[in-house]
Symmetry: C2
Subunit: 138 residues, 2 copies
């Protein structure tokens, strides 16, 4: 198991993640994306309308470099931030060429190699007592 | 004016942004950050406790490559995503060496060169009628 059960619950509950990619000229891009955790492969999967035509998809095809983060602010008083960052190679795949630009015809898959986890396994600790659960998982 | 008044209002209203940086070995990092829009310089400013010791600060010192995004989901039925992505060089500055690891002793500043804006200037249009307001601003 790469992710803890609390982390898997968190991934299943959150609406959006943010995917960072690198353009061929070396400049960065970051954008909100819908996503799904696949319990069989333990990959993060990103789909979407017109994904195969998107700049992020072409960036991943070009160089496979990605980082992905899911976070939220579950409390303002005291202010708490929860965060699960996943680093590792990304793979851009066209699953069905005839439907590449429909939802599900293309996918970006992320295989975690390093995880930065903060505030997810310790929901009841004070914000200043939290320690990140950082680890390599590859 | 780099940003529209609707975009400035959006930046002022949102709690978190996400900052993507590149580590010296070329791998990407992305994490949630508090931020402030500075109306005088039109820069995005990122501060935080221990910022000067953070990996993201050292990444920006190393190569200055950043991308930053603010987004939210204001409606689920129909599902709407608003998004303001800012690309441009980042600068990592220690403002007060004696207080570098306190809040405000160090800052990452982002100067927008390209803006990807979606759903912010047209709050009443249907999700499928929205067009991105993308432009170079440098």
């Amino acid at each position: 198991m790469i992710f803890s059960s609390a982390e898997i619950g968190y991934l299943n509950d959150q609406e959006l993640g943010r995917l960072a990619t690198v353009q061929p000229d070396g400049t960065l891009q970051v954008s909100p994306v819908g996503f799904r955790y696949d319990p069989d492969t333990e990959f993060i999967e990103i789909r979407g309308m017109n994904l195969a035509r998107s700049r992020k998809f072409r960036n991943v095809l070009d160089n496979g470099r990605v980082a992905f983060v899911v976070d939220d602010v579950p409390s303002l008083q005291p202010r708490r931030v929860r965060c699960l960052e996943i680093r590792g190679p990304g793979e851009a795949v066209v699953l069905d060429a005839a439907r590449a630009n429909e939802f599900g015809g293309a996918v970006i898959r992320i295989k975690a190699e390093r995880i930065i986890s903060f505030g997810i396994d310790d929901p009841d600790q004070g914000p200043h007592e939290l320690t990140p659960h950082n680890r390599n998982v590859s």
